[in-house]
Structure formats: C-alpha cells, structure tokens
C-alpha cells in the first residue's frame, strides 16, 4: 500500500518550539518585522545586534558601471531569521507523523488541506479589500506560512475530534 512520506513525530515538537518562539518574539518586539514604527518591550536595546554583512542578489542598479549580480550589503537579518524559523517550523508541524498514522489520518490530512486552502483564499480576499499600499506587503509575507498554519490547526482539530469520539464511546 502507498504510504505518505512523513517526518518523524518528534519534528512536530521542534516545529512548535520554533513557531511559538517566533510568535512570542513578534508580539514582544514587532520592530523585527515593522521596523522602527512600532512599540517594543525591548525598547531600543540591542540595536544593530543582528546587522550583518550578507550577500544580496541584484542589489545594485543595472545601469551602474560597477553593477554586479551579487554584492555584499549590511542588513538587519532578524526578520530573515524569523521568517526562516517560521517557515521551517510550520513545515515541521504540518508534515510530522501523528501518533497513529494510517489511511484514515491520510484522509483527514487531505480534508484539512482542502479546507485550509479555501479558508486561506477567503482570508486573502478579505485583506485584499481592507489593506492597501505598503501594509499589503505584510499580508503577502503572512501568506507564506498562513496556509500551513491553518492546515496544521484544522488537522489537529480533526484528529482531536476523532480521539474524543472514541473516548466518549469507552
């Protein structure tokens, strides 16, 4: 029988740690994403701590005589680190095995995935008509991982409901 290639169960816990710490970091210091415009419980401490020299693709002007495909730039990498942790975390949660993985859980995965796709589309449509200009960039950034977050949540709810149903019958 065809079996889904999934990650080991412990990956889920690593994913949860990554996602929760990312959300916690964002709540404590929205400056990481929104720049200097927001309030932060850390105040102005650690300014420039994450500023590093990193390679940048197509950063200079193509009309400039010193143009090069890749150049080194000074950049605050805190938001890059956060997005990486968020993406890796959501993938680890979404594709880790559940305790009892079988054909029924595969079916629940499929249902959760199609529901998440619909809900994610509805959310994007709503924000499309409510959020404008530069702020819409953040909506697009959220869309990078919102589908996987929604999928993980819906799938977890479905599994929980099934377990509860069996528990109630005992």
């Amino acid at each position: 029988m065809n079996k889904l290639k999934l990650l080991p169960r412990w990956c889920r816990y690593i994913g949860l740690v990554l996602v929760i710490s990312c959300i916690g970091m964002f709540v404590a210091d929205p400056e990481v994403i929104f720049g200097e415009l927001t309030w932060s419980i850390f105040g102005d401490a650690e300014e420039g701590f994450f500023v590093r020299s990193v390679p940048a693709l197509l950063d200079s002007n193509p009309n400039d005589p010193t143009f090069s495909l890749i150049s080194w730039v000074e950049n605050d990498i805190s938001n890059e680190l956060m997005l990486t942790a968020m993406l890796v975390g959501t993938y680890l949660i979404a594709f880790a095995r559940v305790k009892e993985e079988d054909e029924f859980s595969h079916q629940l995965r499929l249902e959760a995935m199609s529901q998440a796709l619909v809900y994610n589309g509805i959310i994007l449509l709503i924000f499309n008509w409510l959020v404008y200009d530069g702020l819409f960039l953040y909506v697009m950034m959220t869309q990078l991982f919102s589908f996987l977050l929604l999928f993980s949540f819906i799938f977890a709810m479905k599994i929980r409901k099934q377990r509860k149903m069996v528990g109630d019958e005992e």
Binding site: E100, D102, E103, F104, Q162, V166
Partner: protein
C-alpha cells in the same frame, strides 16, 4: 455505504481495539468506519473480510442511490 462490522465483531468477540490491532490501523479508524464516517480502502476491507472469514459484500453493502 452501510456496514455490519459491529455485528461481525460481536460474533468473533472482538473489541474495536483488537480489530484495529489485527488490521494494522488505529481505533479511531475502526470507529469512523463503524459510524459510516469513513469508507475504507479495498485493502482494509479485504483484511477485515479475512479476519471475519466472510465475503467483503457481507460486511459492506451499498445503500440505495449509491
């Protein structure tokens, strides 16, 4: 699709947990099949028929309009 897994289980004196272990699936899966919330794969249906020593059609029957 309706099924008579509960009856067949009773005949063989099998609990959901035992049947789940014999077929290699979870108890939730057996429960969902019994309640008609999940239609099993052909492989799982054949395994069940083997355990209950009967034909698949004796366990699973199509309902009118299906």
């Amino acid at each position: 699709m309706k099924n008579s897994i509960k009856v067949e289980r009773a005949k063989k004196d099998l609990t959901q947990a035992k049947l789940a272990k014999l077929t290699g699936v979870s108890r939730q899966t057996i429960n969902a099949i019994e309640l008609g919330k999940y239609v099993p794969s052909a492989l799982l249906a054949l395994k069940m028929a083997q355990i209950f020593e009967c034909q698949v059609e004796e366990i699973f029957q199509l309902e009118e309009g299906e």
